[in-house]
Subunit: 341 residues, 2 copies
DNA sequence: CGACAACTTGTTCGCGCTAACATAGCATTA
DNA sequence: TAATGCTATGTTAGCGCGAACAAGTTGTCG
């Protein structure tokens, strides 16, 4: 009854449980590990003793002997951005539900050195598996030359590393937006991309190009942004000067917000004069002025699938699985046919 | 040279290093633990052997005997919001720099049960210290009745728990905004608050009330929002109907965004007819239309101070420290004196 | 009834490391 | 010179657990 071990300072160990239950410590271990060869009577006695003492198994001792830490390492850059942090939330939650601890390493500047450092800490910690969410070019070779001896799942860079991965089909998302714009009658569709060393930035450029090519249209102007609203604003001022451009696809919502402001200041009405579309569907985008047409990525689904893949590798030793989540176009108020026809 | 242990499958252990260096494994341990009683010659030999074998100390064995895990547990709700995730980034970075692993538990729904579950996992993991970032009322009693036996630092709820804490002075931030609005000549200043069970929401309400009282003004209308742009929008429609209100302080930037849209739709010009201020200074807020006047919280500083406090407790056993970070008013385009005087 | 299998439980060992103690070597002092 | 202290190193034990093996118990079948 009540929390035992009140006065004493040593947490109960397996041997203490064994004594109370009148069995050997190994039997306690068997109960804890759900070994089938324990009689119901014994199991109950042990469980009662565990409850009575408030016993909790020592993780360090357990991992020393099993050589597994019940820990998954998560390496992330941009962990305070909306998309990545949403995915992280799901990853971490799914891992915890599966009984794993989650060790996190968020890196601010992405380089081979910082990535390696973080991964080495994970091996020091002898994590059972690793999730990598670093949507930069540099991740490819860095991971390839590292050859970790635990399962690794890469978010956002599936396939190319030879490792397992999950990703949102960015190109498909971009194609959907651009096709939508083309369907509205736009013929010169600009793009404000993310920095070229980002994997997602490149995929969205490809999608934009692909959709235009499919429709027999030539590329509109491409301005490289920096994912920020400020970058979008500057790109917008530049694009506003070019009156041929009647639609702009921004590679994320923040840049789209910047575009909206730039166009407002330049006297180009959205969507009457020019259409704008974003990417990500951040929660605020429905309240931009006008509400933003954008692409919803399944961040939540992505994170959960990521852990599913990792758990499968942990359990079965399967490797190289690739999961692709399809994003969804969300049409709101920033896209329309041209006012004057 | 190069990475040794190529063909063999067992990672080198201390004994292997000892053999190569021609010393006992204990001497290797002493070198690793910077014990001063090791001669320079021996130290060098050992370090060479460590480098040659690529030896890395086994964390599990180490924590089994030291009873410390070199791990800090971080419990967070809202880990995908801008502010909390920025703080988390800093917390995690500072902890890692201090040589700690960071175990994260992000909870989606905040309740005594989920908090306790997460904290129990931390004790299972025998973390050396805990950081709690759960800005809800429920955290107070939950922590009080739990009495963990490791240092705990609470973010955003300093003082009240008897535990150490760091926080941004929310009330001061709110007072600064409201004083700014009063200075511009506003006399009826409304507030769109966060949900009442959030600590920050209450503090900002207090600040708003306090600044009004100091100026001899009575409270303007108070509408409870939900932190979201949609909530701000709905509150804005309600407030727009009341033409006495010439300024509104929103408890965060997302709600301010919603206000902006609601006022635009209601034909109330910002800032000519009505001023709007937010709180947080999210990166996009400078590109809202108009750019948002808001309060910048030192999320980064907060996170780093949090770990400083925790490390101090770990080192010296000091307890109950409270650090308060002062926020800063950022005046942009949504606040002004009234057009008509 | 005896031999054998299947189930249940106990005993021993070692995972890799640090703490505590033991020991050897050397310098210092009365 | 012997006693004393200090430094550098080695030896041993044990942290708490699970794997491997040993042993006891029950049931089954010829």
């Amino acid at each position: 009854m009540a929390a035992a071990s009140e006065g004493q300072h040593r947490a109960p160990v397996m041997e203490d449980v064994a004594r109370v239950a009148g069995v050997s410590h190994q039997t306690v271990s068997r109960v804890l590990n759900h070994n089938p060869n324990v009689s119901d009577r014994t199991r109950e006695k042990v469980e009662r003793a565990i409850a009575e003492l408030g016993y909790r198994r020592n993780t360090a001792a357990r991992s020393l002997v099993t050589r597994r830490s019940q820990t998954i390492g998560v390496l992330a850059s941009e962990m305070s951005e909306y998309g990545p942090s949403s995915t992280l939330l799901a990853v971490q939650e799914a891992a915890r539900e599966a009984g794993y601890f989650v060790s996190i390493a968020g890196i601010r500047d992405v380089s081979a050195r910082t990535i390696q450092e973080a991964l080495r800490r994970f091996t020091d910690q002898s994590v059972d598996g690793i999730v990598v969410q670093v949507p930069h070019d540099v991740i490819f070779e860095t991971l390839r030359e590292l050859s970790l001896d635990v399962p690794v799942v890469v978010i956002g860079a599936a396939g190319a590393t030879g490792l397992s991965g999950v990703r949102v089909d960015q190109e498909s998302g971009a194609r959907q937006v651009v096709a939508h714009l083309i369907g509205l009658g736009h013929r010169t569709i600009g793009h404000v991309s993310g920095p070229r060393d980002w994997i997602d930035a490149k995929a969205r450029i490809e999608g934009w190009r692909g959709a235009l090519a499919d429709a027999g249209l030539s590329d509109g102007p491409l301005v490289e942004g920096d994912w920020s609203a400020g970058g979008g604003y500057r790109a917008g001022l530049e694009l506003a000067a070019n009156t041929d451009v009647t639609a702009v696809f921004a590679a994320n919502d923040q840049m789209a917000l910047g575009l909206l402001r730039a166009f407002a200041e330049s006297g180009r009405r959205v969507p009457a004069d020019i259409s704008v579309a974003g990417f990500d569907d951040v929660p605020e985008s429905g309240y931009y002025q006008p509400p933003l047409t954008t692409v919803r990525q399944g961040f939540e689904a992505l994170g959960r699938r990521c852990i599913e893949v990792l758990l499968a590798e942990l359990a079965e030793g399967s490797r190289g699985a690739t999961v692709v989540v399809r994003p969804e176009l969300v049409v709101r108020g920033t896209t329309a046919g041209l006012a004057g026809g």
